[in-house]
Structures are given as C-alpha cells and as structure tokens.
C-alpha cells in the first residue's frame, strides 16, 4: 500500500512539475544555449534578449548557459534527449561533427547573403564546411599573439620582444629565475597544459610562423608532421632544456601575477589582465607578433571562431534565425550590433562583422586589442574537420609529453599523425556510408 501511494504521490508531483514548465509555452518560445555564464555576461545577454522581446512581444526567449567544458556534451545530450535548444553558440571546430550528424539547420538565403556581404572571407570559411555551405553567424574572432611582460623583459636586459625563435629562446632563458631553493620562481615562456586550445593553438601559431601547415588544404590529411612541425616541437624541447619554459608553471594562471615573461594568448584575456595585481595592464603588458621560425619568412598566427546556429529539430527555425540576425545585424548606421557590443565591451573579443569592427573601433584601440585586430587580418582560421576535436586532444597530449621530456618531437608528431590520418580516413568512410 505504502509503496503504491508513494509512487502515486511521486507521479503526481512529476506531473505538476512538468506542467509548471509547460504553462510558459505561449506564443513562440526560443531557447538559447551559450557558455557565457558569469554574472556580468548573463546580465548583458539578458539585456539583449529583453530588447528583442520588447520589439517582438510574441516571442519569448530563454537563456541557458553551461560552462565551456560541458558545452559540447550538453549540445549532444540535449539533442539525444530531444530537449535541444533552438539557438546555439558554439566553437567552430565542432561544426563538421554536428553537420554530419544533422544537428544544424541551414541558414535562410537572406542570412547567407548578409553574412557574405559583411564578414571577411576567411572568417566565413571558418564557419563553413568543406562543401562551401555556411552554417551560422560568426561571432568572436580570436587570433593568438605573443603577450609579454615588459618589466620582466627589461629586467632581463631586453627592450624589445623576440622577433624570431633564436631571440625567443635567448630571452625566455634570461627571464627564467631560479630561487635559493633551486626552484623556478619566474619563467620565460609560459605554456598552458591541461587545456587543449591553450596547448594546440600556440603550437599552431608557431608552426604557421615557421612555414608549416596543420592539415592539408583539402583537410584530408594531417600535415603537422613535417620538418617545420618537428622544428616547432624542437623549439619546445629546447625551451624546456634551457629552462626558458617549465610546464609546471602555467602561463594562464601565473602571467597575471607577474611571474611569467611571455605567453602566446588570445584577445579575450584583456579583462583578466586589466584586473591583474602582479602586472600593470597599461604600462607592463605588451603584445607582439608571433616570433618567426627558421623555416618561416613572416609572422603568422591561428584564429578560432565561434558561431550562432540553429538546431535542425527546432520547431521555430524562422523565428530563431530572425533572432540571431537581429542580434548580429546593424540597425542604425554606425551603431554596431548588440552582439558586437557584447563581444567587444563585455569580453574584449574581436567581432566578425565589419560594421562591428568599425563601430567599436574605439573600444578596440587600446594597445592590447589593437594588436590582435591587426593580426586578425592575416591569422589563418583554425581548419575544421570531422573528428577535429579528437585530433586536437591527441596532439595536446603529445605536445605535453614533449614538454615533460617524456618523448621526442619526432616520435610525438609521427604518433599523432598516424592516429589523425586514421580518424580522417574513418570520417571519410562514414560520410560515404
């Protein structure tokens, strides 16, 4: 009896709960999933949503945020659970996987035309699959540059950042300080182990500045296992050997406290650096182009992108695209878009749309962001391919192994290349099946 009763009580409770959620479903309800979850970011996004809803009283928009680390899993599990959001904001590397699995809806022609007319081709490519189909509105563009601590460089006797790898090695070794206990208290070049982008993106930036490639142009084969790639990993090994780098001192965590000389990082770091206590943003933080390797002839870089897209199972696709368009389009000449404003002023990131880059040029004119804006003109978009996240994770582990002195550059790249090509081959077969 008591079991039956408790089951009944439970079921009715469940019903009440689910009805409670369902009563909100008046008019058109759109759910937007993003990873911008801090208090300020939530408030800024809510302001955009409120403004849209004021103009569109028949649309209700709900914002759901998850941490970046769980975003991909949430999109996938939400899909399988049949409770997917209508609007996603996600990292473009996942685009091919999502497209192959039919997660995304194709944008309407109006949107495609608008994107075509207002975004640089390289950024459009970054949110398009290899068949040329564009899948959404690109948002932040994040190129990588050498961020350095002017004070530490000066103390080591250098008044300019390194322009090539020889200088990089020399300056890094000079900055590193070993304290009385024989331990490193200050390190020249900080790396960011444990974070896939924090390892693979700086590696790619150096690789490109050494004339190398990540994947072949048709994205069918891995190309990082080249003489240029081995030279790049050898640079890591040399830096570790000379003490210029130490994997146990995380650049991301320690540069703000003033114990790391240089880190290869992205523009959105600005907020952290401004608040940093160990380094003065205005006077001590410098930004330089990626040092050029022995086989390269000019500084290059890598840039990654995020995009807004619509779920293919959304019952309100036109409304979802309308909302995305409204957020990204410029409504008054020279005013920029709502998302542009958010990206630049709340995040310190570089927006994709030309009108935003123009409208918020002033906010991006400080010595820090302006350098990244300049780099975004030549930085190569991260090549996206199905299985790309897995390849990136494998490469991350091998680079970390080189930093830890557990393997050689040759072995590391040969091993990832083999696995990466197997993944690419498998993805091709899957696509044909």
């Amino acid at each position: 009896m008591s079991l039956k009763r408790s089951v009944l009580v439970f079921l009715s409770l469940a019903l009440v709960l689910s009805f409670g959620a369902a009563t909100l479903a008046q008019d058109t309800t759109l759910t937007m999933l993003t990873h911008w979850g801090t208090e300020d970011q939530l408030a800024a996004q809510q302001a955009i949503i409120d403004a849209y809803m004021a103009e569109h009283p028949d649309v209700v928009i709900e914002l759901v945020t998850v941490d970046f680390g769980e975003l991909r899993a949430k999109i996938i599990t939400g899909r399988t659970a049949g409770i997917s959001a209508d609007v996603y904001h996600f990292y473009h590397l996942w685009l091919p996987d999502f497209v192959n699995a039919g997660v995304l809806a194709e944008p309407p022609q109006d949107s495609l035309t608008y994107i075509d007319e207002n975004v640089a081709q390289g950024t459009i490519d970054a949110v398009s699959t290899s068949d040329g189909q564009t899948w959404g509105y690109p948002t932040e563009v994040n190129p990588y540059l050498l961020v350095y601590n002017k004070r530490l460089l000066a103390e080591a006797g250098y008044d300019a950042p390194p322009a090539n790898w020889e200088e990089l090695k020399e300056i890094a070794a000079a900055i590193t300080q070993v304290d009385d206990s024989g331990a490193i208290s200050q390190v020249g070049l900080g790396v960011m182990p444990g974070w896939d982008s924090g390892i693979v993106h700086p590696f790619s930036a150096l690789l490109f500045s050494n004339g190398g490639n990540y994947l072949s142009a048709d994205r069918a084969m891995a190309e990082f296992n080249s003489p240029q790639g081995i030279e790049t990993l050898q640079l890591y090994a040399d830096l570790v050997a000379s003490g210029g780098t130490d994997a146990s001192i995380n650049g991301l965590a320690n540069f703000p406290s003033g114990t790391v000389g240089m880190v290869i990082m992205a523009p959105w770091w600005r907020a952290t650096l401004r608040a940093a206590e160990g380094v003065d943003f205005e006077t001590e933080v410098g930004v330089a182009e990626i040092p050029v390797g022995p086989s390269g002839d000019a500084p290059s870089s890598i840039a990654y992108t995020w995009l807004f897209a619509v779920d293919s199972s959304s019952p309100n696709k036109p409304a979802a695209w309308d909302f995305i368009h409204w957020m990204n389009a410029e409504h008054n000449d020279g005013a920029g878009s709502a998302i542009g404003d958010f990206l630049v002023n709340a995040l310190g990131a570089i927006p994709s749309f030309n009108h935003d880059q123009a409208a918020f040029a002033d906010s991006m004119s400080d010595h820090y962001v302006s350098a990244f804006v300049a780099a975004s003109a030549y930085a190569r978009p991260e090549q996206i391919v199905a299985g790309g996240q897995e390849i990136k994770t494998l490469l991350q582990a091998e680079i970390e192994a080189v930093l830890a002195g557990m393997t050689t550059p040759e072995d590391a790249l040969a091993s990832v290349e083999m696995q990466a090509n197997a993944i690419l081959e498998e993805q091709r077969m899957m696509a044909e099946e």
């Binding site: 009896m1 008591s2 079991l3 408790s6 439970f10 469940a14 709960l17 689910s18 979850g37 801090t38 208090e39 759901v64 945020t65 998850v66 941490d67 970046f68 680390g69 769980e70 899993a73 949430k74 599990t77 939400g78 399988t80 659970a81 049949g82 409770i83 965590a253 703000p256 406290s257 952290t272 608040a275 206590e277 160990g278």
Partner: protein, 280 residues
C-alpha cells in the same frame, strides 16, 4: 619483541600513540582550515611573496560577493530534496525486496537474488548512457525525476536488508499472522522496527552517495535552477578560476554546513557505516 614493548616506559608509548593520532588528525583537518582561512583573504594575500599565513583583515565580503553571484539556497534545496527522495526510495524498495528475499519462498527467488548480486559489480559507467536514454524516453531530462528515479532501487541495499532480515526470527512473523496481521502489516509493524539500525546504515550510505554524486547530475541537468551542490562547485571552478579566495569561500559554503550536521549526528553516521563492514 613483546618484552621490548613492555620495557618501554608506559608513558612514552602512550605519548607516541597520541602524537601519531594527533598528527593524522591535523592532516585530516588542515585542508578544511586552510580553505576557511583562504576564503577570507584578499586575492593579493593569496599570491603574496613571501607567503602570508593569515589575512591582515578578514574579508567577510568575499561571502557576500559569493551570495550575489550564485544561488546558494537553491543549490542546498536541490541537493537536500533530491538526496532525501533517493534515501526514502532506497529504504522503501530495499526493505520490501530484502524482506521478500529473506522471509518468503517463491519460484524464482534464488535466480532473482543472484541476478541482483551480480549487478552489484557492474561499473556505473556501463549503465550511464543507456540509463540516460531511458530517462530521455521518459521525457525526464533536466527534471528532478530524471535525477532521482534511476537511483530509487539499489542492488546493494536489497542485499544489505536481506542480510539483516534473515536474522529476524520466523516465530515472530508467525505469531503476528495468528493474531490476524496481514503481510504488509507484518512488514511495517514487526520487521521494520526490528531492522531500524540497518535502515539507518543504508540511509546514511545512500545519503552520502546521493549528496556527493556528480557525474549523473552533470549529464541529466541543464538548468541552473535544478543544479545540486557538486554542480554548483563545478561552476565555481570556471567562474572563479582567477579568484582563489572566492572559490574557497564557495567551497566552504558547500561543505561546512554538511560537516556541522555530521558532527551533531556523528554517533548515528558512524554506527551506521561501521555496520556495513560487518554485514556486507
């Protein structure tokens, strides 16, 4: 050998004993104490060289800042509510099934019981994804039901309750039957009161497990309004990656009330836990 020990001055041996215990206890308590201290430091004090051991001025503002940025009450309610329902469910289902396995003969009894024993060894990850699919079929993703229902029956619980109920004398049950008690009444009036210590054990165990569970809520919940404490702590990790003092304040808020509750109820907690080793 034993002679040597006796020849040691008794007081020295005793002192050594207390020293070892105190050393161990210090190691156990220190991380919590350090978390509390760091939670009232400024960000600068945490990074100070040479290191500082105490804040110049305790920054209780850290806690008010924390309260502004995460819904602590909500997290506590969710954790308490879901853990509570799971405990009730496990106690009810385990005691019912354990009672049947211990005190009734019915076709299929042995087979079912061995099946249940076998499932105790399965790594939770084997069932993780399929259970996720079942929960999805039921439309329970991102709901309390989805979080709670898969945990309502426990193979371990059934096993434990059966072990305890076997020791209840059959004569008691028969006497009750002669007095006209129905089978459910026997369960509720006779058996349950007799196995209260075992229920306390199972309840404690289940509660700790449900309270600390992380992977399942991480998968099944999307809305921050439904988040439990471990998910709250997980969000803090990225929210306060650069603010160790606030991160420690958040962790303290999640951990300390539970510790206080434990200190008050420690007698029941520990008695319950101790039983599992003997009956399991």
């Amino acid at each position: 050998m034993s002679k040597d020990e006796h020849s040691l001055p008794q007081s020295a041996a005793r002192a050594l004993k207390y020293l070892v215990l105190a050393g161990g206890a210090f190691l156990m308590v220190f991380p919590f104490v350090w978390m509390m201290i760091a939670s009232v430091m400024t960000a600068g004090e945490i990074q100070m060289r040479p290191p500082v051991w105490l804040p110049a001025q305790p920054q209780f503002d850290n806690y008010s800042e924390l309260a502004r940025s995460i819904p602590i009450g909500r997290l506590y309610f969710n954790s308490l509510f879901t853990s509570g329902i799971i405990v009730l469910g496990v106690l009810l289902s385990s005691s019912l099934a354990g009672f049947a396995f211990a005190k009734y003969r019915f076709p299929g009894r042995e087979l079912l019981f061995y099946l249940i024993l076998a499932t105790m060894m399965i790594p939770f990850f084997v069932t993780l994804i399929p259970v996720f699919f079942i929960v999805r079929q039921l439309g329970w993703i991102d709901t309390y039901q989805g979080l709670v229902v898969p945990g309502l029956a426990s193979a371990y619980g059934i096993f434990l309750m059966r072990q305890f109920m076997v020791t209840v004398p059959d004569e008691l049950l028969d006497a009750a039957r002669i007095d006209g008690a129905s089978e459910p009444m026997i369960y509720w009036r006779i058996v349950i009161p007799l196995v209260k210590p075992a229920l306390a054990t199972l309840g404690t165990f289940t509660f700790i497990g449900a309270w600390n569970n992380f992977l399942w809520p991480l998968l099944v919940l999307n809305s921050r309004e439904l988040f439990t404490l471990p998910l709250g702590i997980n969000s803090l990790r990225s929210l306060y990656a650069d603010n160790t003092n606030l991160l420690m304040a958040g962790t303290a808020v999640a951990v300390v009330p539970m510790l206080l509750l434990f200190v008050f109820l420690q007698r029941y907690f520990i008695k319950g836990i101790a039983l599992t080793g003997l009956k399991g």
